[in-house]
Symmetry: D2
Subunit: 331 residues, 4 copies
């Protein structure tokens, strides 16, 4: 039972391989009446394009988003929104070199073992290009959240820029979500932090997540870690935010804050030991168009997944109380 | 849309409040033909009982598991397994003191805001007692995994034991899963690490998770972080395990390794500032039966959630390939 | 992947076997703030009890519902509602006669083939007693619907009462749902009629369903079958209701009307040919406590499943429009 | 919470409107290693094209299927299969006439009420063109089933061909599924008949379904309706098939047989009363390209939905037993 659908109400399916004809997403569960244009999506997609920075791949794609369904006269209709991006720069390169080799740190070995077959062209489904679909859906989610007063911003800390020798680096990304009222997140399994942890760890290179004080809280005393409440001119507020805005799996009204660890890009041109499909020990050097550091381009993906996750949980919260239900049904 | 059901094939529902009549779990999707007795469950439940250590609460419950359905003549039948534990020590204490107060670090404020009502007796649904249901389901999952050669063990690192002054501490828990073949985990959203991150962060006090080299990998170079493959007497193996046994969201055949940050128990007897339900600034001291450190008792919960998550993903993997399907259907 | 959970938002799990210790249901997703007592459930459960009619089994159970969780101070809390009914009359009868025989029209053969094992005591999980869980959940659903102005009533047509010779009969049940506004039901797969068809066919003895003009509509012309709209003092109404209140998979504001075909109870005392577990051709007579006609007792089950299905779809409809979402979130 | 995804393991999402740029389906959960080409899909799509019969619409589309992902070197890879069909004949007709009118028997009124907006061009999402996506997915499901020895065929009974006066007719379709071993279908809610009922009633014009003896069984005695088992040269078989091949919600090894009632096409050119968006009583005549009888073109849709449903349940059955799981995992 595969896993290319995320969300329970705002359901996002991504499809497509790095070197197939196209890549895209279908969003089932976007409410009707949302203003949405291809431009809204394009703005986000452009953020994940390789920059001119020396950290980025030189693969160039215009990545033009085309809305195929679900939008009529500028507004969503409540039916599935299908968005497609054609792959332009899928070079008909010779992959015979990589075809039978399991690159260290890559999906080659696990995909092959799981499925008995893999699309070896540019990583196939495991390629970072899959995140095009996430960014598409994230753009729509951001539009919904904006109408509800919620904003998401992710950023990375200073990156070691000097990567002269064919190696790669990782990094830390922090994400802050503002404007979420208290009560978003579903006990006991689909907690806000649990769902964010899932959606963030589903991003290829992420190896860890922490909320608020995170791993530091393991070394704090209760009296240091507890966030005391106070009445902030009529609004219940907290003196500190060690919780990262999440208490008992629900938003507590403070900013939601989490940090992610990104591992270095596995594609490096330095020689590495590995095995081929027949099990022979070999040595390889991976040449090609790769990001020295994925972090700058991953930031919009982090925001996209945060937006998708939050949208789904905000929608899920609508039926939590009889009075909300009556408000809508009996109005 | 609530969230008390975990899993897609091995589906676990937990129910019950700290001071209700009983607490329990229903497991829908356990395969038939598994040897299962109440003793199998009891062994695990006993591990989460408060010990005689000064770190633990003095609430005493026998926590006797009773199987109500789904098992016949010592074997599972393929139908839902309902297991109940009656709450014995639900003291008819006076909760009027806590009833209208939002304790720092607790679920009081968020539950109240979300639902407009909360069972304030002992934390209600947000109590650690909810994990009884998880341990029940985890016991069953462990039995399945054992038959498939998979074993899970979690442990904590040295804890600061000196907590003399009514304060509390957190801690780090590491979990290792052995015996998982390569290929478990579903791209692109339901990755093995993504699902483990979700299930672990759904445990009350967990504030962070990292896999393998985790946060350290953010500061490593690709050449340091990549795990090189080699032929280990006919088996494809890795020289290092920075990946924590997970590549591209699937098990890679190595041990699966992750670490969790537990925050300190929010219940402390030191005075704390907070607000009451009317928004008045007040000061409280929480007295009662509480764990100074939840970590020792949480270890079996970590193992349980790991077992549930892994069982679900192992079962999900069965339909990944036509040849597996034919093997079963045409046999 | 088993199937004992129904619903996407109002999620009902039933568990339990005919002759196990108990039987019950867990409802995850009931909104908070609903007035609910054991009496509300008992009233419905009493309707499915065997009557004194000659059509009913003589098995007598008090079927007393006990709420174990999810209700506090008379109101639902938004957490899972666990309700249990202990099996009292699970006679320690000798089942050795039936144990190795596949009764015609019963679940014996299919359960055994699927699971390799079956609880042969009184039909185990396939027994009509499983509907206790459905009626419990249906009682809660009815309370929700009542607050939203929706009422469900099912009834049977004249039954042949004369069954003197150890045989059994079936019957037709019609169900009418009043008070559903237009727009309930989700395109394109989870249509209102599709979901009702599923939930009704999931009732043991149901072999067919038709909506509105149903099978007759296959022989009507479009001009006869189309329901013309008219302005009924400001409300859009229909001149006829051949659609059964469902257009394009959504409620159209008229009464929802469907009819079900129940097959005769398979348990008859007349001699029947069959095979045993070893494949030997044999002849059996089934003696024991059985309903000559299940229809009278099934009516409350039909209502229960209709209520569960409709509640789920009404809740699902809440997020269909941005303006509804804003109404709740920004209020 | 919308409903354009069907299936739990073999998950089918359809998207697209009648007069949008394209229409399509994404299938998540197709096992790897299945031989699949565009031709396999085209063969099925061609069956739903309007024929030259006087019963069919004269809208002409080549409906050419293009596989965009999930297939590599002629085989499925286990990743989502995205298939697109561009809409060619989406005439830029003037819809101003229909735009503000609720056509009797159509989706106009319910869509508008639910979403507050509707794509009125050719029925938008409610158009029969949506079934293109179903037929695509059905073609893939049929290929899987064929490898497992299962074949599906649907057919209609004699249709009244004489429809000279702008009216329309409905019809009965029967479907037979051969080669399904006993045990497919999940108790207690996701029964084989329950799932088939859902998927069939999700087809636009279907108003009823019955299995085996169906509505007739309501008037039979148990002794007439029960199918007696016998040993058919080593295979357990049945003397009759009133059950329609389904016992207790699972396949019983006999042919699965069900019948569907299709209502007449609501589009007729005869004058009809209705109301417009402002609530004015009006009279309309619907001219345009419409099927006088949808039944001939619906047959392949019935087969497609049957194939999708059965594939999903066959895959779901794989984890029913520990011995099956061990067979795959430990092999």
């Amino acid at each position: 039972m595969s896993g290319s659908i995320y969300g329970k109400i705002f359901k996002v399916t991504t499809w497509g391989e790095s070197h197939g004809a196209a890549i895209g997403a279908v969003i089932d569960g976007c409410p009707s009446g949302l203003l949405l244009s291809e431009k809204d999506i394009q703005i986000e997609l452009d953020k994940r394009k390789p920059s001119n920075s020396p950290l980025s791949t030189i693969r160039k794609e215009s990545d033009k988003a085309i809305i195929l369904s679900g939008v009529f006269e500028g507004k969503t209709t409540g039916t599935p929104i299908s968005v497609i991006v054609f792959n332009e720069d899928a070079r008909t390169k010779d992959y015979s070199e990589i075809k039978n080799i399991f690159r260290p740190g890559h999906a080659d070995y696990t995909f092959y073992t799981k499925y008995g077959v893999r699309d070896y062209r540019g990583g196939g489904r495991s390629s970072g290009r899959e995140t095009v679909g996430r960014v598409i859906a994230g753009a729509i989610a951001k539009k919904i959240l904006k109408e509800l007063g919620i904003e998401i911003s992710a950023y990375s800390f200073d990156l070691e820029l000097v990567v002269e020798d064919g190696d790669s680096v990782g990094g830390i990304v922090e994400c802050v979500i503002k404007g979420v009222k208290a009560g978003i997140g579903e006990t006991v399994f689909d907690k806000l932090d649990a769902e964010l942890a899932k959606s963030m760890l589903s991003i290829g290179a992420v190896k860890g997540i922490e909320f608020g004080a995170g791993f530091k809280s393991a070394f704090m005393k209760g009296s240091e870690n507890n966030d005391e409440f106070f009445n902030d001119n009529g609004k219940i507020s907290k003196l500190t935010n060690n919780s990262g805005g999440i208490l008992a799996g629900m938003s507590d009204g403070s900013d939601i804050v989490f940090r992610l660890a990104f591992k270095p890009t596995p594609s490096i041109s330095k020689p590495q030991k590995t095995v081929d499909i027949q099990g022979n020990d070999i040595e390889i050097e991976i040449n090609g168009r790769h990001d020295v550091c994925i972090v700058p381009r991953a930031i919009v993906v982090v925001e996209a997944m945060a937006a998708i996750t939050l949208t789904d949980l905000v929608l899920r919260n609508l039926t939590a109380r009889m009075d909300n239900i009556k408000l809508v049904v009996l109005s």
